[in-house]
Symmetry: C2
Subunit: 415 residues, 2 copies
């Protein structure tokens, strides 16, 4: 057996215990983790500084180094997140439906954990604790495979979590870290069908593609967001400016940020000049089609075909003038990644068509795409945004980390 298979087997065994652990026991283990993280922050920060040192030596980009860095307040935030999770209702054991059949059988559909969840993620070490804790609260064992950049931090965090779990009365194998950060270990994890029920990749388009291509275990794709805002004829232009600026600038590195603005031809000449000052503060680079360029002038570069398909994750916005809603819908159908799409409109019929016809996890009328988030949706937490249609779509929280089973009670029924 490989090291990973042994981890898988241990996780599977832990998941059987977690599946029947009651809420109090899971919560007290989460509390023990929160306490341990705070108590051992010196150890965590020391491990993190090893990662930071390596990052510096390897000339890691400033923005990535920021994502990698831990400090007292980030450790405090992890512990606070655990506290909030403790307060959320336990999704496990709820009867989603229950009925007595004509033959006297009682059939209930009960929410149960998925089992063993594997998560492959990139450099942010706070994901290690957040993701593990969400899985645990939903009764799942979790196998974490973080990037090599954060291996020292992740090793420390997982060691602390495992010790706290044991102290809190749950199997330490409920949380495991894949020590080997090679590409091969990721590949092997993607094919560990005997031990993994669901694999959730969290990262850039390259990681997602590799997982979709190589995984034989069930996968939930997350996070690629080429999101659009369409400003319709007759829309409140001020509202349009405010929504576009927010969707683009409030946090461009995340998947629910807007990447392309579509603007209806009849209002383009009025709307685009209003937009320029709103984006200027963030130095947003505009890449426009010929028609928008004619209005924007020197404020914009020329967009290429590639721009329509690009998730910039940066202060760049593609801009295209469209004839009407129909052209906006077909542009979104062609280039969108089914994440979050918004229309700004004052027209009832077009708002309804947009909601009905756009195929995406979250479809907005007169609001920013930036709201696609577990917290904003009232789910209390999130482990990622699913962009596939199977199992879960959009923000995934505790219920989405569950499956269900049918329990059937009889008194001798045969068929």
């Amino acid at each position: 057996m490989s090291a990973l298979e042994i981890q898988g087997q241990k996780a599977r065994a832990a998941s059987a215990i977690l599946a029947v652990a009651d809420t109090a026991r899971k919560n007290s283990a989460l509390a023990a983790i929160a306490e341990a993280l705070l108590a051992q922050k010196t150890e965590i920060l020391a491990a993190n500084s090893e990662d930071m040192q390596r990052a510096k030596e390897n000339d890691m980009r400033e923005s990535l180094r920021d994502r990698l860095a831990l400090n007292e307040s980030r450790i405090k935030a992890m512990a606070d997140g655990l506290q909030q999770l403790i307060e959320l209702p336990d999704p496990v054991g709820e009867a989603v439906s229950m009925a007595k059949r004509p033959n006297g059988l009682t059939i209930a559909r009960l929410r149960v954990p998925l089992g063993v969840i594997a998560i492959i993620f990139e450099a942010r070490p706070n994901v290690t604790v957040d993701a593990a804790a969400l899985c645990l609260k939903a009764g799942n064992a979790v196998i974490l495979r973080g990037g090599k950049e954060a291996i020292s931090s992740n090793t420390a965090l997982v060691r602390i979590m495992r010790a706290a779990l044991k102290k809190g009365g749950l199997p330490e194998d409920s949380v495991a870290l894949v020590a080997d950060t090679s590409r091969e270990s990721a590949r092997e994890l993607m094919r560990l069908n005997d031990y993994i029920d669901v694999l959730i990749p969290r990262g850039g388009a390259g990681l997602i593609r590799s997982v979709v291509e190589n995984a034989t275990v069930p996968v939930i794709e997350t996070g690629v967001g080429n999101c659009h805002v369409y400003v319709d004829e007759g829309a409140d232009l001020e509202m349009g400016v405010s929504i576009v600026a927010n969707a683009k600038c409030s946090r461009p590195s995340v998947c629910n940020a807007a990447e392309t603005l579509l603007v209806a031809r009849p209002i383009a000449a009025d709307f685009l000049p209003l937009l320029i000052p709103a984006l200027a503060a963030s130095h947003v680079e505009l890449r426009a089609d010929a028609e928008a360029k004619a209005i924007l002038g020197k404020a914009a570069l020329d967009a290429t075909e590639e721009d329509w398909a690009t998730e910039y994750n940066d202060f760049i916005l593609a801009v295209k003038v469209v004839a009407d809603l129909d052209e906006a819908l077909s542009h979104i159908a062609r280039y969108g990644t089914r994440h979050s799409e918004a229309i700004v409109t004052a027209d009832y019929a077009r708002s309804q068509r947009f909601l009905a016809e756009v195929d995406a996890a979250a479809v907005y009328v007169n609001a920013s795409t930036r709201f696609t988030d577990g917290g904003e949706f009232g789910l209390g937490a999130e482990i990622g945004i699913s962009t596939q249609k199977m199992h879960a779509r959009g923000p995934m929280a505790l219920k989405e980390l569950c499956s269900y089973k049918y329990i059937v009670k009889g008194d001798g029924q045969i068929r």
Copy 2:
């Protein structure tokens, strides 16, 4: 573009129309299909007799030939099935939840179709109509890839369905048949990520394995059932006999039939002799471990390790004496395929432990595993039994052929 990619693209376009088609339109298309099947039964039977002729030439097994054969009553059954489907509620458009957030956003989670569903299945041509109709009712386009044995029947059935769809006001590309029945076409279908949202394989363990191994599109595994009945100490022995005989003999070829009997040591010597006459009528072959063999004598053969892991789909039953519930649970955890598992017991605490601890789609107390079925569960229909935990588990009907999307209505909210 390959022939399959073109079919995929057309199915994707059809799915956009189906997604917004109202219930009346979908039902009238289903009615048109039912009518056309009855009106063109001569054509269907002629096509089927080509398949039957080939089957005879190729020395196909009698039982498989029976599955392949169509006749007037089977065509009538297809049409009746469509009628029942028309009467079922439309799963699409229901708000699964809806709430106003503190910032004034209204967020609803609406059930929507999955999109394009691909189904790879083996020789039964009635699956062609059943599966396509279920997908349609749930607003999905479907790409069917049946076996070469049934290609003439399937071609006729799909031609009739497509013509009826057109007549009923829906795109004919809502249903497509992959004409190429080679292994390569199946492989290509499994990797058509741009056009397929979910792939459902329906067939034996070999097909399922090939799909899991090769697919890059999201898959719902179905149908492999190595199901157990555990007869507990103190159980009503007559009830045990009746449930075991039913679970084994009523239809051994299906996935919810029992394959292994586990019997508690303290009652084994009383129970097993009672079972022999109940299984004799079906000439069930028993394969027993040493302890059960000592009781059953010449009525049983020796079981090997392989027997515990085998889904016989035949009149064969593996029999093992276990010490107690704990041993039964670990045997099921080790060899079960998470399909359907039953305990026969009179003990409350052990019934509860069995329900909680067995990890399977359907867990039974004092009833036959044979009830794991969409019709029996009150779902009205079924497209297969999922044995994975992601998306859907157990019988999959109309709701399980859906995804959801969030629709968010605001009046200018930004984050």
